[in-house]
Symmetry: C2
Subunit: 200 residues, 2 copies
C-alpha cells in the first residue's frame, strides 16, 4: 500500500475521531511510521490533507448515488426500502463517515455547503421530486414536505450514527436485535417509512 494512501487512511480515522483541527500531523506520522515532515512531501499542507480526506469520502458517496437512482425502477415501498438500506449501509459500513461529516458541517459550514451543493443537492432534488409526484398521485401522505423530509431523514441518520454510537449502552437490554446498531437502523427506518406512506 502506497505511503500516500496510508497517510490518507490514518488521517481519515483520526480526523473523524477527534476532528480535523485537533488532529496533529505528528500523530498521523506516528501511526504511519514516518516522520512528520514527510507527510508534507505527499500533501502540500495539513489543510490540503483535510480536503483530500473529505473529497475521498464524498467520492464514495458519489459511487453510491447511481445505485440509489437504479432503485427508482421499483414501486414506492420497494424504492423506499432500497434507498434507506443504501443510506444506512453507507454510514454503518464505516462509522467514521458520519462523525467526519457532522464535524465538518459544524466546523466549516460554508465549505460544506458548497460540497453538499455539488454532491448531495442533485440526489436530493431527484428523491424529493419523486416524493412530491407520489404525493400528488395520492400514494404518499399529503402533509409531507418532501425537501424537509429527505433532509431530516439524512440528518437523523447522520446524527444518530455519529453520536448514539457511543450512546448505545444507555439503552436497556434487548432480545430482538444482535447489536445496538441494527436496533437503531430498524427504528430509524420504521420512523422514516411510517411518516412517508399512507396507512395500507
Amino acid at each position: 500500500m502506497s505511503a500516500r494512501h496510508q497517510i490518507l487512511e490514518a488521517a481519515t480515522r483520526q480526523m473523524a475521531a477527534r476532528g480535523a483541527d485537533a488532529t496533529t500531523l505528528q500523530a498521523i506520522a506516528d501511526e504511519v511510521g514516518i516522520r512528520k515532515p514527510s507527510i508534507l512531501y505527499h500533501f502540500e499542507s495539513k489543510d490540503a490533507l483535510r480536503v483530500a480526506v473529505l473529497e475521498d469520502l464524498l467520492a464514495r458517496w458519489g459511487e453510491v448515488m447511481p445505485r440509489l437512482f437504479l432503485a427508482t425502477s421499483r414501486d414506492g415501498v420497494g424504492r423506499f426500502e432500497a434507498v434507506m438500506a443504501e443510506l444506512i449501509g453507507f454510514f454503518t459500513s464505516d462509522p467514521n463517515r458520519a462523525r467526519l461529516l457532522v464535524r465538518e458541517m459544524m466546523d466549516r459550514p460554508d465549505e460544506m455547503r458548497a460540497y453538499l451543493g455539488r454532491f448531495v443537492q442533485p440526489w436530493l432534488d431527484v428523491v424529493a421530486g419523486q416524493i412530491a409526484r407520489d404525493r400528488d398521485a395520492g400514494s404518499t401522505r399529503a402533509e409531507v414536505d418532501p425537501e424537509a423530509y429527505v433532509l431530516t431523514v439524512v440528518c437523523m441518520t447522520l446524527g444518530c450514527l455519529a453520536t448514539l454510537e457511543d450512546l448505545g449502552p444507555v439503552l436497556g437490554p434487548d432480545d430482538t436485535h444482535d447489536t445496538p446498531h441494527t436496533r437503531w437502523a430498524a427504528e430509524i427506518t420504521r420512523m422514516a417509512r411510517v411518516s412517508l406512506f399512507k396507512e395500507s
Copy 2:
C-alpha cells in the same frame, strides 16, 4: 454582570461554535476584555471552565424536565405535543446548545455518558415507560421500540438543529413557514407524531 458570568457566557458561545478544544483562553479573554491569566483566577483551568459550561447547560435542561413531567397529566396526543414543543423549544431558544452537546458527545463520549446517565436517563425512563404502557393499552403503534424511539427523536432534534442550521439554504423556497427553523420543527414534529400514534 460579574466577570465570572461574562467569562462563562463567552466560553459557552465560543465552545459551541468551534468546539472546546479549539477555543483558546486568549479568545475568551479578548471577548470579555481582560487578560488571559485573569480567566484562571476565576476558573482553575481551561478544563474546569469547560466542565462549568457543560454543567450550566445541563442544569437548564434539568429545569425543563419538571415541565415535561407536568405534561403527563394530559391525554396521549396532548402530552406528546407538549413534550415535543418543550424539546424543540429548549434547543431552538439557543442554537448553541445542540452544537455544544453534539460536539461533547463526539469528543468525550465517556464523560458525556456519565452526564446523560444522571440528567437524561431518568427522564428517558419515564417517557419510554409511558409509551410502553400506551402501546400495551393499544393507543400507540405496536411496533414501536419505546427506548430506541425516544432516543432517536432526541437525536434527530439535536442533529438537525446542530447541523441543518447552516444547511437551511439548501432547501428550496417555501411559502408556508416564516423561517427554515419553523419548517424543520414542523417536519420533525410531524415525523415523530405519525410514527408513534396509530392512525385515527
